[in-house]
């Protein structure tokens, strides 16, 4: 459609607001409450414009573009009105500096002046220079505020981790309240009181910590002033550099913008262009990158055991020692453990090193027991390839979501945002989990069941759906056999055990069979203990019955990458890599561990080499320690929970003597005389990886890991019901489900070691 703004004919697609159209076409309209991604609010009234044929003035932010509109954005009257409104806003915001004529000369003297308790002017403000109010005042050229000024009462709230709240700087644009409700689904911040007494606060004026805050920092990121500020960077000097990385602290793959100065990270914020996170992050990505990168336990130098105790050594010495000791072990005598936080490059070289150079018995990694791996295996039980890739946005578009026991804000923050989005669009969300407390998003159906009854719940739902199966399910191969094997189901007994009413179960079954796009989200925590593969078979069948899509949710920055590499290299090892932590069995006598190490009993291994980024007691029991870079210091490729391949940059140079994993391994391999090593650059590795492993074909130029690249999957086989075989069940049900700590990164557990995160995680499970 075509409309006219200030006499200019502009072609517009979709249904954008006039403000968006104007901005896209370089027409300046001031605004303070508008925020892309949030519903229009029309509260600051600075974007008032005139639309021909309409009475009065309309805010551009909430006026939708229409064919043929004639819009005027700037008349003397409009400018006078906007100016008057801005003057009113400034009457309630410290504005001495904003209209000060001496500002340029003041800039020379304000280097440390920001270390003040109370902000009374821009020079004392944490966002001086980045403040949107400053920008608007400058653009509109305000010289005087002709009203008595008011300071909003109350002190700066500093009683929460990470975030300072200073109401005296607030202009009540409501962005924080809206992002908290609309995007994060947390509704922690709200408007309190009314009229000129309105302030931003929490229910009952409690701390954020006691109000269910996720500390995602979204409110800080959208705040146009310094009202909501990240405490740790408040008094920092400006950054020198900003780099884009993929957050390694969990498996969501958020793009982060990391600010640094003099080789140290200052802070991070979510990248609005991050393909997975689109401007959102979680407490770790937003507030803990600096702490993780510069933690005191960071391993900075190679160490070797000398006369019983560890001492620092140079790289040459350490690698020589490692090569010499490893050379003593015959094929199959060295076990290798890998980490889900290593990049694909590191893992690829590790797999090559283990299979070609060490001829190790196995490479174990946390992926072997992941939800994705178990789902894949359950599908194989029915002779089909289950697709593991998905798109987060598909969850947001779902009509029905069955969430099985995951504490999404903790383990899958981006998935949580999509569930919130779906809820806002009217989706039905059923959250099943422990009756003692599990995460249920606000607006979802809370289905609490007793511990260990996950399988039973799935069976009960299956029984309900089997009553009147859809025609599609009934046509699926194996249906009759499955129905027979399912047999009779004692519903009354199940209800009693589940402590759920018949009506409730029927309601949920009806929602699942309702025909709307259904997503079933599950992680390793559900079905609870005792389920194993049998539970997963039930889940696969339930998905077939309801026409739902199963979405496996795992943690670990590169778990899916590890899983893909493990599959690609599986044939090269005598035994399928399956048991993480049990790497030192009867055969192997030496261990090469990348990342965290399970506790090793004395005498269990003759040689332990640890390649890691952080030290701890376990690591210090090793014979040789090789310092590996963290993801903040080295570029690398990772695959997030969706199966999305992303290339991360490095934010800072390697700390201490640390080297990227692939570099350490290839140097070591070279020392052991292996062919095809060493690699000189990470690009060489990823080129090799793309060639050698079909799943990573997307890494090959020209796409080279750009925004929308996913792991290549085998074509999904025809759907079929799984009829579980009891022998498989018994074999797997013995194995305890390993739940990975979601706050661990390369052996550094932030929830235990960072005081603030400890406070955040120490709260009871949020119920909404």
């Amino acid at each position: 459609m075509i409309l006219t703004i200030d006499g200019r004919a502009i072609t517009v697609e979709g249904r954008p607001s006039l403000l968006e159209v104007a901005r896209a076409n370089g027409i300046f309209i001031p605004s303070l409450c508008h925020q892309p991604g949030l519903d229009p609010f029309a509260a600051c009234r600075l974007c008032l414009i005139e639309v021909k044929g309409r009475k009065g003035f309309a805010p551009a932010c909430s006026t939708t573009a229409e064919e043929g509109l004639e819009v005027v954005t700037s008349t003397p009257e409009l400018q006078a009105l906007r100016r008057a409104i801005l003057e009113l806003i400034l009457a309630e915001h410290p504005h001495a500096c904003l209209i000060c004529t001496e500002k340029p000369s003041c800039d020379d003297f304000k280097s440390t002046i920001r270390k003040t308790g109370e902000v009374t002017g821009c020079v004392l403000c944490p966002v001086n220079g980045r403040c949107e109010l400053q920008g608007v005042v400058e653009a509109m050229g305000l010289g005087i505020v002709p009203f008595p000024s008011h300071r909003r009462p109350g002190e700066v709230r500093r009683d929460d981790p990470f975030i300072d709240r200073d109401n005296s700087l607030c202009i009540l644009c409501g962005r924080c309240v809206r992002v908290c409700q609309e995007v994060r689904g947390a509704s922690v911040l709200t408007f309190v009181s009314r009229g000129s007494g309105t302030v931003i606060g929490t229910a009952l004026d409690r701390r954020l910590l006691d109000s269910g805050c996720q500390f995602c920092g979204a409110c800080v990121d959208v705040c146009p002033t310094g009202s909501l500020a990240e405490r740790s960077v408040r008094y920092d000097r400006p950054a020198e550099a900003e780099s884009k990385i993929v957050c390694p602290l969990c498996g969501q793959g958020c793009g982060l913008l990391v600010k640094s100065r003099e080789g140290r990270i200052l802070g991070s914020s979510p990248d609005p262009e991050g393909p997975a996170n689109r401007g959102q992050a979680c407490v770790k990505g937003r507030f803990l990158v600096r702490a993780a990168a510069h933690h005191p336990r960071r391993l900075l130098n190679p160490m070797i055991r000398d006369k019983g105790s560890l001492r620092e050594a140079g790289w040459d010495e350490a690698l020589e020692a490692a090569a010499a000791r490893l050379a003593d072990f015959p094929a199959g005598a060295v076990a290798v453990s890998a980490s889900a936080e290593s990049s694909c490059e590191d893992l690829f070289v590790l797999y090559r090193f283990a299979s070609e150079t060490l001829k190790a018995s196995s490479v174990s990694g946390p992926w072997s027991d992941s939800a994705a791996a178990r789902l894949f295996e359950a599908g194989r039980g029915a002779g089909r390839t289950v697709p593991l890739n998905f798109r987060l946005s598909d969850i947001g578009r779902a009509g029905t979501i069955l969430l099985l026991g995951e504490n999404l804000p903790l383990t899958q923050p981006l998935v949580n945002l999509e569930v919130v989005r779906a809820l806002r669009k009217g989706a039905a969300v059923i959250s099943a989990g422990s009756i003692e407390g599990h995460y249920t998003p606000s607006g979802a159906i809370d289905l609490g069941i007793p511990a260990g009854k996950g399988d039973l719940l799935l069976s009960a739902l299956t029984a309900s759906l089997l009553e009147s199966p859809g025609p599609e399910a009934a046509r699926t191969p194996g249906f009759e056999k499955f129905k027979m094997s399912f047999g009779k189901f004692d519903r009354a007994k199940a209800r009693r055990a589940l402590r759920v009413s018949e009506k409730r179960l029927l309601e949920i079954a009806r929602l699942l069979a309702g025909g709307k796009p259904l997503m079933i989200l599950f992680g390793t925590g559900f079905p609870e203990a005792g389920g194993g593969l049998a539970g997963l078979a039930t889940l696969v069948n339930l998905a077939l019955l309801s026409g739902g899509r199963l979405v496996p949710l795992d943690g670990g920055a590169n778990l899916r990458g590890g899983l893909a590499l493990a599959a690609a290299f599986a044939a090269r090892f005598p035994e399928a890599a399956e048991h993480p932590g049990s790497s030192v069995g009867k055969g192997p006598r030496a261990l090469y561990a990348v990342g965290p190490l399970a506790k090793i009993r004395p005498g269990e291994a003759e040689l332990v080499i640890v390649q890691g980024s952080y030290t701890d007691e376990q690591a210090e029991a090793a014979d040789i320690l090789l310092p590996e870079t963290t993801a903040f210091e080295a570029a690398g490729t990772t695959v997030n929970v969706e199966g999305r391949i992303q290339v991360s940059g490095a934010a800072i140079l390697p700390l201490g003597q640390a080297r990227p994993g692939w570099s350490i391994l290839s140097l070591l391999a070279a020392k052991l005389g292996a062919a095809g090593f060493p690699y000189g650059t990470a690009e060489e590795v990823s080129r090799d990886l793309a060639r050698a492993v079909p799943a990573f074909k997307a890494l090959e130029p020209p796409s080279g890991g750009s925004a929308e690249t996913f792991l290549k999957e085998d074509a999904a086989g025809p759907e079929a019901f799984v009829v579980a075989r009891s022998d498989r069940i018994s074999r797997h049900s013995r194995k305890p489900v390993i739940s990975r700590d979601p706050d661990a990164y390369k052996g550094l557990n932030l929830a235990r070691e960072h005081k603030s995160l400890k406070l955040v995680r120490g709260r009871p499970c949020p119920r909404s």
Binding site: P40, F41, A42, A43, C44, R45, L48, G56, F57, A58, P59, S62, T63, L81, A84, I85, L88, I89, A91, E92, P146, F147, P148, H150, I171, L172, G174, T190, F191, S193, R194, G195, S196, G197, T198
Partner: protein
């Protein structure tokens, strides 16, 4: 059905109830039973008669006798004389102001005589808690007609032709609103009845809901058919417990008779209603804020368009109308658009209910045809100003309205005329002010009201009303300067043109009309530092005229701060430094003496300067 020779209609509106109407009714019933009249005389509790100032009220039918200001002690006399001996009790009848002979019949009382009842047609004659009585007076006939015999288009056409406009204040044509909603493709659609009446001094919605809840229900059933709505909400502020209870009873009864729910009256039409109780914010009366409130959100208005007719509650097409608007609908359908539009002016049809309060003899609720002159309301129905004071202004439309001065008393009361005069029909509050009212003080009162009741969402309203109130407070304190007038007018323009919703857009009206019609009074505050009405405390001093003072000690004893010195039979003197200007001395000084006077301006300042210090006295 038993018949009775006499019906005793006891008013059970909130005003009368608060004066003891229920106790009176109980005593009356007991006495009637005691005298063995139970089979002949029926006692009925009706909705509000509107003459709230005179409660408790009793109407005797079919005689048409009107009793007022009744007490339990009056019961034996009333029963003995009127019901047994057939002699109406003159001493319980209404005596007009400045008259001595009582007026026995309601129809002859000035307050009732000029009213024209459409919305309030059942007030004082039926028991609002009995659906049968509503039906007996043609109730639900219009609903039956609409559901069984009319198409949605025909209903909308009839309402459009009637010229009915929104009675909530803005006066949007009801038929057009319905038509817009009817044409929306989305489903389901909803109806809302806005009963969040919050203007100071306005209580017409409460009275309608209390006196004739079924009229609202019937209007909504007809509206539902017209737009194709499946569900409706009646939003009532929780400060109206009696209205909430009566609407609840009405809903139960309507369900019981198949007038709500599935397959209404066997016509296959489904519609249901529920009551939502408001939590008390003034801004909830704004339609988009009200919708947010029903949805469980904070009552924040949102920018229109889109209008609720396109994008209303739960994002669906919604018709939201005021209580009084809904209550008009059934009469229009029953008696036809031509009948309705024969009342009123060219653009404002039908009647409008006003609550007549303030310095006026007959306080209460009146329903008058649109276009009636203000003078007829104030001096005809209202009976003029008490105590022989001069009329000064009438504030119409509450915090969104303005003050109409004496010169405009012949203004016809309709949407356009009032808006042109700077006020607005608003929800229909009419506050009459006499010469003792300071217009700066009134403007300040209303601005403080909007400042406090502003939701705080948009900047011009939140901050602008505060700044305006501060300027007015400065003027009231005698600290204003001439530039403040320009500032005030500029700010008023910013707030009116910049604000998001109707609350802010109309918030400057009280101040603007004050500047427009009472500029001299404002200037007196600024230039002379005087408050001509002797209201603004900073500009007023209390003074005991030595020639008049009889030394009775009354003022001295009543002064809360002991600022008055004197002895019995000796002239009392106020210590101006200690005086807090509470006015207690002024109020207690006997009417025969009137020694305490108020001074302002130069006279007051001279007195304050020359006041003797306490130790010198």
């Amino acid at each position: 059905v038993p018949t009775y020779r006499t019906h005793l209609l006891v008013c059970a509106g909130t005003g009368c109830v608060s004066c003891g109407a229920f106790a009176f009714k109980e005593a009356l019933q007991k006495e009637i039973d005691r005298r063995g009249l139970g089979d002949e005389v029926l006692v009925v509790a009706t909705g509000c008669n509107g003459f709230c100032e005179r409660g408790p009220i009793l109407m005797v039918q079919p005689d048409g006798i009107f009793y007022q200001r009744l007490a339990v002690a009056d019961v034996p006399l009333l029963v003995e004389e009127h019901l047994i001996k057939g002699r109406p009790v003159r001493k319980l009848m209404y005596v007009p102001p400045a008259a001595v002979t009582p007026v026995p019949k309601m129809a002859d009382i000035e307050f009732f005589k000029h009213q024209r009842l459409i919305v309030l047609r059942n007030r004082g004659r039926i028991d609002p808690e009995k659906i049968e009585e509503y039906i007996a007076y043609d109730g639900y006939e219009a609903a039956a007609k609409a559901l069984a015999g009319l198409t949605p288009e025909e209903i909308v056409a009839e309402v459009s032709a009637s010229g009915l406009r929104g009675r909530g204040g803005a006066g949007f044509p009801t038929g057009r609103k319905w038509d817009l909603c009817r044409r929306q493709p989305g489903a389901p659609k909803y109806l809302i009845c806005n009963g969040d009446e919050g203007d100071p001094g306005a209580f017409m919605d409460r009275s309608v809901l209390e006196a004739d809840p079924h009229a609202v229900l019937e209007g909504m059933i007809i509206g539902a058919k017209a737009v194709g709505a499946i569900r409706g909400y009646i939003y009532i502020r929780d400060e109206y417990p009696l209205a909430v209870s009566r609407v609840g009873i009405a809903l139960d009864q309507a369900h019981g008779l198949g007038l709500l729910g599935k397959d209404i009256l066997g016509t296959g039409f489904d519609f249901d209603l529920e009551v939502v109780r408001g939590a008390g914010a003034f801004v909830s009366g704004e339609e988009t804020a009200l919708i947010a409130s029903i949805e469980g959100q904070r009552a924040y208005p949102r920018q229109r368009p889109p209008y609720p007719a396109e994008h209303g509650i739960w994002g669906q097409p919604t018709v939201i109308n005021n209580v009084e608007t809904w209550a008009n609908v059934a009469s229009i359908i029953r008696r036809g658009a031509a009948w309705f539009s024969s009342l009123g002016t060219g653009t404002s049809k039908g009647t409008k209910i006003f609550s007549l309060v303030g310095k006026i003899n007959n306080t209460g609720l009146v329903e008058v045809p649109m276009g009636i002159r203000l003078r007829d309301i104030v001096f005809g129905i209202g009976g003029g100003i008490p105590k022989g004071r001069e009329f000064k202004a009438v504030q119409i439309g509450g915090p969104s309205g303005g003050c109409i001065p004496q010169e405009l008393l012949d203004l016809p009361v309709d949407y356009e005329s009032l808006t042109k005069a700077g006020a607005m029909v608003g929800s229909g509050g009419m506050i009459v002010m006499d010469e003792d009212t300071c217009m700066v003080d009134i403007a300040l009162y209303f601005l403080r009201f909007t400042q406090e009741e502003s939701c705080g969402k948009c900047a011009p309203c939140r901050i602008g009303t505060r700044q305006m109130a501060e300027i007015l407070a400065r003027i009231a304190a005698g600290e204003g300067n001439i530039d403040d007038l320009r500032k005030l007018e500029d700010l008023a323009g910013t707030v009116a043109r910049g604000s998001l919703c109707g609350l802010g857009q109309t918030a400057p009206n009280p101040a603007l009309t004050t500047l427009r019609y009472f500029r001299n009074e404002v200037l007196a505050h600024i230039v002379d530092r005087a408050c001509p009405a002797h209201v603004c405390k900073n500009l007023t001093v209390f003074f005991i005229e030595p020639e008049k003072c009889v030394g009775c000690l009354l003022c001295l004893k009543n002064c809360p701060v002991h600022a008055i010195a004197g002895e019995r039979k000796k002239v009392h003197v106020i210590d101006q430094a200690a005086c807090i200007k509470c006015g207690a001395c002024f109020n207690v000084c006997p009417a025969k003496v009137q020694a305490v006077t108020k001074l302002t301006g130069e006279a007051g300042r001279a007195l304050r300067g020359g006041a003797p210090a306490p130790e010198d006295a």
